[in-house]
Symmetry: C2
Subunit: 226 residues, 2 copies
């Protein structure tokens, strides 16, 4: 029995990792589409979302099956609940990738905007956070998870900086207002990817240490204040 549930949990972990890999790729493609002004890649990202949604539904169904059949307790129970929540977060990141792809689609039809800040870097940090949070899950590595929580500050800082830069650009080029508002949305979406990765990392810490770390740092400041 106990070995059987271990196998089931390994299977759930593989499923969530597979979902994570597809979501990472979707995010990567959305940002590439924005950078390269590639409407085809943007459309491909949008068209890939129903497959992500289906994977999320499958993972949830499988978690419920394992809960019902094996009635796990203690650490196994916490692990499955963590996978359920991480599943939810990954699907949200998939939605954010679609949102970025939609902005990329719009911006590809307009004149190119030069923005002094680097979306590619911001996206890289967000993607690294996502990857590390999933590695922390698989390796059951709380140190790696804590690292992800710290990285979120960098993404938040870039997002805040982006607000100032884009407001400056609107003042200089008021005729590009619509495009610049779209870029502001992209920055916000990337910041929310960082938030989701942080949620995942916090769930990993909870799963391993049994300690709920979320809300410990936000106190008087909402996490997504943009």
């Amino acid at each position: 029995m106990s070995r059987h549930i271990e196998r089931e949990i390994e299977k759930l972990k593989r499923e969530i990792l597979a979902l994570g890999a597809v979501v990472e790729e979707s995010l990567h493609n959305a940002v590439s589409a924005l950078e390269r002004r590639d409407p085809e890649l943007a459309r491909q990202t949008i068209d890939g979302d129903p497959a992500i949604d289906q994977m999320e539904v499958d993972v949830e169904e499988n978690c419920l099956k394992v809960l019902a059949l094996h009635q796990p307790v203690a650490r196994d129970l916490r692990l499955i609940i963590a996978i359920l929540k991480i599943n939810n977060d990954l699907e949200r990141v998939g939605d954010l990738a679609v949102n970025i792809a939609e902005r990329a689609l719009f911006l590809a039809t307009r004149e190119k905007i030069e923005i002094p800040l680097d979306f590619v870097h911001m996206a890289d940090v967000a993607k690294k956070m996502l990857k590390k949070s999933l590695d922390a899950l698989v390796g059951e590595d709380p140190a790696l998870a804590h690292e992800v929580c710290r990285m979120d500050d960098e993404v938040d800082a870039i997002n805040r900086e982006m607000y100032g830069v884009i407001q400056g650009a609107i003042r200089k080029q008021p005729e590009r207002l619509e495009s610049l508002i779209h870029l502001l949305s992209v920055s916000r979406h990337l910041e929310r990817v960082g938030d989701s990765a942080t949620n995942i990392a916090e769930d990993v810490i909870y799963m391993i240490e049994g300690v709920i770390v979320r809300h410990k740092v936000e106190k008087y400041q909402a996490r997504d204040s943009s």
Copy 2:
């Protein structure tokens, strides 16, 4: 045994409703602070958030206890998993209320902006959705839950309209750019409250009907496309 779990589930429902009531009030206060340009009320909303976070942590702990002690299956299991997910969504709405209160705090220090669209109405629809989704949970009423999903279209439409209106206002009053960007954020936050209420409603439908309805309507369109 079965009676015992029924009592535990009723208790969890009461706890999630209590959380819902506090979150509703927080959202109401945040929007009132914005409307009335009341920094005191805005600060009060922000200061109330740690209590919401603690309630969320408690509900999650209690759900895990019930899962471990009673090892529910079928409908009871689905109900507890739904409560876990709804708990998560309510906490996110609490964060959104804080974000709105932070905008209210900023805007109260600037000259009043007249915006032809009605934030109070948008907030009312979002709050109604939240309330109905919790009523649907308590009454186990899928019809009410389906109604919430339909109401989300209205909030999305108001948010889209808000984008156009605020862009027009920026063109007319470029010196008010910063304040107008803050108002745009409020609109987006309210739209995300609608999304959370929709998530809750979908979880209620799943709990009762055992059918996952989410992703059925979004297909090629991310839910939060703003």
